[in-house]
Amino acid sequence: MTVPAIQVEKLTVTYDAEPVLWDIDLTVPQRVVMGLVGPNGAGKSTLLKSILDLTPKLAGQIKVLGQPFAANRKAIGYVPQRSSIDWDFPTTVLDLVVMGTYGRLGWFRRPGERERADAMAALKRLGMDAYAERQINELSGGQQQRAFLARAFVQDAPIYFLDEPFAGVDVPTEKLIVQLLHELRDEGKTIVVVQHDLKTVGEYLDQVSLINQTLVASGDVESSFSEQLIEETYSGRSRICSPIVKGDA
């Protein structure tokens, strides 16, 4: 069996006194589109942040392709939530996509012709080559999302994290993004998506992880996305008492 793309072991994260994530064991196999699903405030973004080592963990560890995060951090491509980006930042679409090559360039080396050509090819693949010289603020929401996807393509990482990629995006773009994610998976990539919309889970995702402080279920959409498990995920927040009692017993 191949090593999992991401392995989360016994992850607990607390802000202040209250745990946000409690004792999460999660495996993301390679070559799947996995969705992190759960209600607002359930800890989806915190889980994402902990996997990316952006937030301190109380306990637990993360492995990326079998290695500790620090050794394999460049294996992860990240597409931020659209609302977290400063769209007035002075950068053109092409410039943004070229940023995807910075990781392989490493410190000090400048992007050159080759990097720009790679970026143009990625823009072409997403039907965005006509917008290469536009400032990122001059794009529509869907085009902005596509520009970031082009950056992820250029990065050519084995694993991608997308934080709410469908938020504020028009329907054709949403379909296009899904199609691209599936293409990427067929090329052997692993994709983790934070998702809000429950209706499209079956259509878009191969696997799903239901999260509400604890991991309620994780696995194939057919088995893990049952009505009962969804109900369990979306009802009530304080579900960590039972593990504590179990732990003490």
Partner: protein, 308 residues
């Protein structure tokens, strides 16, 4: 070189150093940090002066830089407690540190040429009077040497770390995933900004430092589609403000700090209105044009069924 020529040169160098330093503050949305740093360096300067009793000691600049970093660290620490937002934390820390500096200086330094008035206004008009010698060579006025070093330092750092700084400002998470140590880089950058602030502060006073750090960079942001251009334009706008400001101060026989800040502000206002793509007027025209287009489209659609 005449005193006035030196004053022009020092003003221009100060403007370049500050307006380049300000670009990263503006794009990273932490413009208020310049205000904070320009005040929070005071206790460091006063303390170092009390210890070394030498107004021209380079240790003063070092102490001021450390004081600035202390501010950055305190702000991050307070913000991280989650009780206060970042901007409020900054407001609390820098005003607190500044007042400690003011108290210390008014208690201990009454008879020394070192008072709050100078700190706020600076003394650009006299900056060229203090000469700097190095192993017997005359290098020019001290303010010229210190600002030249700042300009070289900032330009050097920006050129060498341009790609890393861009990613830091735009997408810190990806910078972290690529292993570019965004937190460390950010701290180093803020240390450089504090050193520039201190050096410029000695020449130009706090208000001018803040004006030169933010106004040209904010104006340049409205004019540029690329970060590299924004750096260039910001420096240009800063220099123009500095030169015009000094020129204006001559017939009025006032300190140049006021005119320079005013012109920097005026440049910004002009650009807010007249910037070709993102200016208020350009936006208004674009909005009107779009509305007319929609109306035309609606009219066309409403007419169609009748014709059919």
């Amino acid at each position: 070189m005449s005193l006035l020529a030196w004053t022009y040169l020092i003003a221009a160098l100060t403007a370049v150093a500050c307006s380049l330093a300000g670009v990263m503050l503006v794009v990273k949305r932490e413009a208020l940090v310049s205000e904070g740093l320009s005040h929070a360096v005071l206790p460091g300067i006063v303390l170092a002066f009390l210890v070394f009793r030498d107004r021209s000691s380079p240790l003063l600049i070092l102490a001021a830089g450390l004081s600035g970093l202390l501010m950055v660290w305190l702000v991050q620490w307070i913000a991280r407690t989650g009780r206060v937002k970042q901007d409020a934390a900054l407001g609390i820390v820098f005003s607190g540190m500044f007042s400690v500096g003011v108290i210390a200086s008014s208690l201990n330094l009454k008879n020394v040429h070192f008072h709050a008035h100078c700190i706020i206004d600076g003394n650009l008009a006299f900056a060229a009077l203090d000469d700097c010698h190095w192993f017997g060579f005359y290098l020019g006025p001290k303010a010229f040497v210190s600002m030249l070093l700042c300009v070289v330092g900032v330009i050097g750092f920006v050129v060498v770390f341009f790609k890393e700084l861009k990613l830091l400002a735009f997408d810190e998470t990806t910078s972290h995933l690529f292993g570019f140590r965004p937190r460390l880089l950010h701290t180093i950058w803020l240390a450089i900004v504090s050193i520039v602030a201190v050096a410029a502060f000695e020449v130009a006073g706090t208000i001018l430092v803040v004006a030169l750090m933010i106004a040209p960079a904010a104006a340049a942001n409205l004019l540029s589609d690329r970060l590299s251009w924004m750096f260039v334009l910001s420096a240009l706008l800063g220099v123009v403000a500095a030169l015009l400001g000094v020129a204006l101060s001559q017939p009025l026989s006032i300190s140049p700090a006021g005119p320079i800040s005013s012109i920097a502000g005026f440049e910004f206002l002009l650009i807010v209105f007249f910037a070709p793509k993102r200016g208020l007027i350009a936006r208004r025209i674009a909005r009107r044009r779009r509305r007319r287009l929609w109306i035309a489209l609606l009219a066309k659609r409403n007419r169609l069924p009748k014709n059919e």
